[in-house]
């Protein structure tokens, strides 16, 4: 038997690590991976609450979150490739223009 709060704390730690990575990392790919970490933390709390309420729809929402994350990853990495092609850098401090 594991208290529900343990799962919530674990998901909170993962989410906080994602936020921290988003703030302190300078490499655009690592920043993107931090976003994935945040999504994973949220998914864990979805599943924990689904088990708590015995509601299966929580798992379906996790499925939708995963699909959206996969789509976001495909588009985001394509944008990263486009940015790298024009700027030749992955450091976000040197990417300060929205123009390609």
């Amino acid at each position: 038997m594991v208290p529900l709060s343990y799962y919530l704390i674990l998901s909170g730690i993962l989410f906080a690590c994602g936020v921290l990575g988003f703030l302190i990392k300078r490499n655009i790919i690592t920043i993107f991976m931090s976003i994935e970490l945040m999504l994973n933390g949220v998914n864990l709390s979805f599943v924990a609450f689904a088990a708590h309420w015995h509601a299966l729809s929580g798992q379906v929402f996790v499925f939708f979150v995963m699909v959206v994350a996969a789509a976001e990853t495909a588009v985001g990495l394509a944008i990263i490739i486009a940015v790298y092609r024009t700027r030749e850098t992955l450091n976000v401090d040197q990417v300060n223009l929205l123009k390609l």
Binding site: M1, L4, S5, L14, V47, V68, A69, T73, I81
Partner: protein
């Protein structure tokens, strides 16, 4: 007891992977530790009985998404990140802000959730049940998702393809 010890082992793996992601300087090391986090989370889902979610986590996240990440890291030949003035400001402002925010969220969640306990395999998450739910109650969102994925595919192809090169050289330079 078994549930608690398994939860703690996989939770420790997940947290260690997440911290390793922050500490490593090279993006490929961060990507590999993120794969460890995702695998540990799949084990946590399995402990709760969410078999379908665990399988999708391994196949989609640890498989497809991370392969895409590793491919892009190798394609762009990403090196170690360099630290600049901006990153120091981000650390000074970001770490305390993150701590305050996460403490607030954790306090609220733990206070709200009470002392309920989860058993091992608490969810009846067999793939057939999820599939039934997905194709009955959530049919419209499911179909909308397919359009989203189609748009994402087209967007990725358009964005990542090389810009068109003009066949004839420019007259004025």
């Amino acid at each position: 007891m078994l549930h608690l010890s398994l939860f703690l082992i996989f939770g420790a793996v997940a947290v260690a992977g997440a911290i390793n992601l922050l500490v490593q300087r090279h993006p490929i090391n961060s990507a590999l530790s993120l794969i460890a986090v995702m695998a540990a989370l799949a084990a946590e889902y399995l402990l709760l009985g969410a078999e379908f979610v665990a399988a999708v986590q391994v196949i989609v996240y640890a498989g497809a998404v991370m392969v895409l990440f590793v491919f892009v890291i190798m394609l762009l030949n990403a090196g170690e990140e360099e630290h600049t003035k901006g990153s120091r400001v981000a650390i000074i402002l970001g770490v305390p802000g993150m701590l305050v925010g996460s403490l607030l969220v954790a306090w609220t969640l733990v206070r709200q959730s009470g002392t309920s306990e989860l058993e091992i395999g608490a969810l009846p998450g067999a793939p057939s049940t999820i599939g039934w739910l997905l194709f009955h109650d959530f049919l419209l969102p499911f179909e909308v998702t397919s359009i989203l994925v189609l748009i994402a595919i087209m967007g990725a192809v358009v964005l990542a393809s090389k810009p068109e090169q003009t066949s004839e050289p420019r007259k004025e330079a």
